[in-house]
Point group: C3
Chain length 324, copies 3
Amino acid sequence: MKKKSKRIKSKKPESKTSFSLTDVISMQDFSKHDIEFILEKASILELMHSSKKKTILFGKTVATLFFEPSTRTRLSFEKAAQDLGAEVIGFADPNTSSSGSKGESFSDTIKVVERYADLIIARTPIEGAPRRAAEISSKPIINAGDGSNQHPTQTLLDLYTIKKTFGKIDGLKIGFSGDLKYGRTVHSLSKALSHYKVDQYFIAPKELEMPQYYVENAKKSGKVKLTEDLYKYLGELDILYATRIQKERFPDPIEYQRIKNVYILDSKILSKVKKTFKIMHPLPRVNEIDPSLDETPHALYFDQLSNGIPVREALISILAGVKK
Amino acid sequence: MKKKSKRIKSKKPESKTSFSLTDVISMQDFSKHDIEFILEKASILELMHSSKKKTILFGKTVATLFFEPSTRTRLSFEKAAQDLGAEVIGFADPNTSSSGSKGESFSDTIKVVERYADLIIARTPIEGAPRRAAEISSKPIINAGDGSNQHPTQTLLDLYTIKKTFGKIDGLKIGFSGDLKYGRTVHSLSKALSHYKVDQYFIAPKELEMPQYYVENAKKSGKVKLTEDLYKYLGELDILYATRIQKERFPDPIEYQRIKNVYILDSKILSKVKKTFKIMHPLPRVNEIDPSLDETPHALYFDQLSNGIPVREALISILAGVKK
Amino acid sequence: MKKKSKRIKSKKPESKTSFSLTDVISMQDFSKHDIEFILEKASILELMHSSKKKTILFGKTVATLFFEPSTRTRLSFEKAAQDLGAEVIGFADPNTSSSGSKGESFSDTIKVVERYADLIIARTPIEGAPRRAAEISSKPIINAGDGSNQHPTQTLLDLYTIKKTFGKIDGLKIGFSGDLKYGRTVHSLSKALSHYKVDQYFIAPKELEMPQYYVENAKKSGKVKLTEDLYKYLGELDILYATRIQKERFPDPIEYQRIKNVYILDSKILSKVKKTFKIMHPLPRVNEIDPSLDETPHALYFDQLSNGIPVREALISILAGVKK
């Protein structure tokens, strides 16, 4: 959100009871206090009666601008906004948006929509576009994913899921498997976890291993173990955060087939894991997690998805009330 | 809806005052009691003041998943849900749904959406998909049409229209014209009418005549007459349910032109029919009914369409309140 | 809106306190009184508290049928309807509308939607289609643009913007620049301004000059000046209404480049214009107005866009309450 000179500044800019951001663009912008503030707010909203929740943004309008389709994320944001009593306008698909085809710039689209909405949620294939939107807009912007760059609400719902499930984040042993080289969700969550005392396990083939930057960062806040073997540390883990290995990453399709199948989670893992062990996944999955695990107490991925609602409600309700 | 072991069972599972279904998938699942229960509920909702109706599903969310576009059906369901005070999320078009393109299975899409919505309305080109959805989902499913298989809300609104117009269903003489061989609506309505004492008339060319199964079924509850001649029994009928003859059914386009024109309803019928005679049609029509009939008292097809609203409201309000 | 014989006629059909139209199709249908009535109503709605506004159309449904995409116009209408408490159904794109592909006529689509909605907003590429819709429909129609023909809500928001900014319309000196030959917005606004005492300046290249019909019309209510030179009268103007010059109008692309650049508004104009001078534009702009002007007090184009909300609210609230 552009800071206008006439903007009324919050009286307590960095107090322990406030949220310091006026836009949600990147997890890099979140202090530990900001994260904790959102998690706390989400847990309050999750327990709130719908009739009370409906009054929070009564009379407000939220715009959802999906410059690339993403049904899951869009429905989650729209439900969150509606649960808070806001009206939703927007587009689900660049093809139903005429602006681009008439040659309008991205800047002008934002300047138009800020006139209609109290808060803008933007999904775009272009990295950095939401940051640019925040610079232009006099209304708060929430980044709902910009290419392979950031998807901060995913990371916040991941953190919320961990805290809600285990009652804490500190002290946990959290593994990541799959594509750790390119995986946006993994990088963002691993980074955010370094605010806590967490041991991190990176389980990936050589071709897709965690970049050195994130490994070093993880070491600051806990022990780090790297392996290609899915089973090696499985018994130690509290959580395994599995991700998809994308075909496009491999020049050789046979190599892809081999590697992909190595990291499939199925009933074979059941005898190895702790009783309280949980599997997380950002969804959609293709075949990384066998559906036979869905009904086990280890499957946390659909609850994780549900947690996106209170987390997005927390962000929307806080930002839409920000004074300008 | 998947029956969980922890589901609180209705206290009166088959009493005269309850509805036995937790999903609306096929007319085959409806007992006569279920049908009557919906028709009664629809007539109550049709008379209810909008401010009272708006409270029924306040705070609830209904998802409309249109895996193939169907504007008329979608708008009708969305209006019904909104009239009841529910919020609506969903997609109108498979192209604006990213799930498929990311390789997500239909099962996972349902498992995702059940986390966001209290009730799911699904339209799909694939026969049987809504039944599968009901097996997976912990939330009620309403089938809004699955290929050439079922479209139960169409049949219920047809029955509601007949009862509302004539004050009864028993004792009526109801004809069907057009494509009786492939017509999903005709098969489903004819079958449902066999719960009542109705005489049925099947008026179609040899190539498109009513399948023997439905003819036999109709005979159980009333007299049945078959003819190729639209005019033969026209003076006897209370209702003629006209349907479209689709070009695709005919290998020979000349044969199509000949047959299509034989079953057109226009002002020529006016001198033959009873004063109270009504024409029904599932819409859209192409040229089966001449627009000159629209303003006559015989045209029931747009009222029939309007009746879709209270019928869908009845189903949505009952199912969204089902205990799990 | 089709006038049914059973329609209850307004008691004061042409009184000074009523609006004479039951549909908004063309600015040609608006008397000066009608225009003033809408501007007055819009100014009341702009100041009304959202919780009061939300009750105006509570329980009503507005349909937005966009037979061609137009995001800006659609979002503006949807926000206006939602601010008034109405529910919105519709489609954003002809491709998500199945009606056309099933061979349904435009007439039947209107006859269907009038059963679901209390008011219909239609955007179509076909000139005259909204007029046809109004003849068919028993519910009010608002034209949201029909090809190069009419876009009456744009003209009304332009007038509202002028009156709100200057406190009056009479006595102003208003210039138009760009494509005055084909520009729908320019023709419509110039015509509407002839209800007031306004001097009009037409600034365009020979190839794109204002048609004689509009020039003559403008002369009836004030002085008229024509020029190819953007700067010639710039110091006299209260308002310059800039429009886009479309490439498609020119057989010779070099000629297009030359002309286009002549009418660009940028910081060079600042030393020439009055302190109170304002720039209007229907948006989207391409390069007609340099973004460096956006932050100057002369830029009125985004406020102009915002004014579309109260103007559309005025029209929707008046028409949706029309007795039938």
